[in-house]
Symmetry: D2
Subunit: 251 residues, 4 copies
């Protein structure tokens, strides 16, 4: 078993190191991660510029690109042996509901979709989370389960872990993504030279966070595990479209 | 009707200008677009740095950020009046199958999901496409249909247009996303100083491109319209998960 | 006569266009300029990444690099015919005293030091200067003089022009660089997420700005022309060093 | 004695760590360095964006900016106590002749010009230098001499050290900057998508490298120490200018 690890907080992040230490006891691991914080990079891919990869003293490979670049490089030629699966994280902070659209951690997992086993994105909830040992424990548990209960390769598991000690975990819940309200307004400000600048505001509050959602599980102290699909097609709407898309003679 | 336009090729792109000219005849438009090419930016959002917005002579607003930044700013405070919908494009090149995960154009549309009408991402197929007038015509046609056939606000329409003259369009097809094979291998090279660099390789060939897919429609000369959803939850898999996720006593 | 034009405000800047229009009437010109604002780029050179050059509709070539990159590319192979001299500007704002160490405009001129005629950096003083026609007039006047009074090729002329109408110019002064006090303190602030950020503060006030300096000339309404050298050796100090540098037996 | 250390190779560079270890035994040190490689950044200063500073486990502060940004921040407010002098380096590779115009290491020293003691830029010659202990030894030796032989605060010492063991150093030479030929041509290439890219070529060969120059000293196995001035005025040329600058009636 050969696992590729990546993240979006950068190769020096405590969460990545905790994950590497934990999984390294159960599989061969390769770490390929961004050389700096790339949170909210989503599935951004670097096409216009070349990338550089450096192997650090601890064996981690840092790349001057996005999380997606890291995993893309790793599985399309950088590593001598193709890994069997990707673990991305442990993210510093949760990735719940709409967050998955923007998350570099989830994107890193997504990019592992062509490998043999499901990819896992794992995040530790909280503004300044500290219980990385809990998330690392969860990662190992899930790895063992995935080996015994193989899922289709094109599944991504989005895992969020409450920031509590292992003994205080309430258990696991299989969840769906909740939803946030629209983001808070942009914050208009001025730089010291008197010119207008804008900061992206905080994410919106929870809108759809009832039982069954990832928000609900985390708030109740459970590990939330959401299966994600990568086919964005909204199949139920295809027939609607057919009713009003122009017929040839309307062109 | 107030439409926000954006893209990922930058505010100077021919496709954006063609779209603005076409839709400007049917609605109030605001254009907020990246100050340079941001292809493959996906839903990347700039959280660590402030953004700057400049209004150009032609009324377009350029922002030193990603497509998602542009739309996010526009609808959360930059524009005085919130728009009713977003049109993103006309992208120079298609966005088919897995491409939508990486596309900045689709991401710009996604970011308009909280507005009153569906968002539309529109792309002109081909390596160096030229028939922007065809895609602009399609945009106007779809706008008129959407006004008369309102879809739920959280729908995204991913539209691809063949690079042919209007009269040579075969018609419209409501499609699902196809799928590509895994990308081509990373291209290993050297910079002039003898150090190793890597270029992301070309996207994979079409793997699932049969009838009903967006690939198929475009190859046959039809406009492809795929409804996208933004809830990535794979509902069918939730029950599977429940069968093997650890019970509390396993923790 | 073939003149290369560049700047640090970017290829769309009013000052560059004014300069191109003015010099274009007296010589063949080529414009190679950054694709965006690169003020304070100094002599920064892009070694780790490749550069891209695009020819715009108006014939200007924009490069995704620094002012130094632009001139470097232009004179080492991008242009078919090597230019005879470089004009950089018209900078939006003055470059006086210590400013020349940081200025991308002066750096662009510096990079032209291997050409046949002196390079000229030209700046229009003022916070939001408007009299670009005055600076353009000065540029043409200096060009004509330089043709008749050839200076050694390795001279850079740093020209600052008061922001007044041509008829209100008091004349020209050959000046030395003045000096600023140390910069104002860094401005400590917070981003909207509560994390500390720092902004570089404004430049220091004038410290050495008496008669003979560039500050003095501009304040009095004169065009300031300062000859710059690129050999930074402080010759007078070499002998001092010899008195105390360790002798071999001290190593 | 409080010394500020910086460099342009980034806070993880072996040369910086060697310098910190060596000087740390003789003075209080503060290290403020770029978070990644910023070679050839020259005196580039970040005015448009805020900067962030993180204190690492070893006490080094990394900043997401240029070498000039690092020293600027450090001496205008980031550090509680203003340092007495700046040491920049140990650069991985030499900074000889024209190189000083582009060097981020020399720029970091330059930015320390307002402090009480001369600033020192120190570089270890060679393509992949290894004898950092030699350059560290030279740094300590020079520090001790500078304390006993104070130079004016606005002097910068540009020090280059041969990549040999300490016992193989031939001694010290007070030198002037030599000069390079014009750079090698730009290298035109293509990215994997068939679009033209350009790489800045290698620096030119030595043109003025005779006895007395920094090139000569290094080639002969000596430590080269060049005093640099920051007043770029070419005083000898001011009178020349006066002979041909337009008189008022010529305007």
């Amino acid at each position: 078993m050969h696992i590729l690890l990546s993240n979006d907080d950068g190769y020096l992040a405590e969460g990545l190191i905790a994950l590497a230490n934990a999984l390294g006891g159960h599989a061969e691991i390769s770490v390929v991660a961004p050389d700096r914080n790339r949170s909210a990079a989503s599935n951004s891919l670097t096409l216009e510029m070349p990338l550089r990869a450096y192997t650090m003293d601890n064996g981690f490979i840092k790349v001057d690109g996005t999380p997606t670049d890291c995993v893309h490089l790793a599985i399309t030629g950088l590593l001598e042996n193709e890994p069997d699966m990707v673990f991305a994280g442990i993210n510093h902070g949760s990735n719940l509901g709409d967050d998955v659209l923007y998350s570099g951690t989830v994107a890193a997992a997504t990019e592992g979709r062509f490998l043999g086993l499901p990819a896992v994105a794992i995040s530790l909830a909280g503004a300044n989370p500290i219980h990385f040992e809990t998330a690392a424990h969860v990662a190992v548990t899930l790895l063992q389960q995935l080996i015994n209960h193989p899922l289709p390769q094109d599944t991504i598991l989005n895992v969020n872990v409450p920031d509590v000690a292992i003994k205080d975990l309430k258990g696991y819940q299989a969840t769906r993504l909740g939803q946030r309200h629209k983001s808070e307004p942009v914050i208009k400000s001025e730089d010291p030279r008197g010119r207008v600048i804008y900061w992206v505001g905080p994410p919106g509050a929870e809108q759809d966070a009832g039982p069954g959602t990832d928000f609900y599980a985390i708030n109740a102290g459970f590990v939330s595990v959401t299966p994600l699909q990568l086919d964005l097609t909204w199949y139920e709407r295809i027939n609607d479209l057919k009713t009003w898309l122009p017929k040839e003679h309307d062109l």
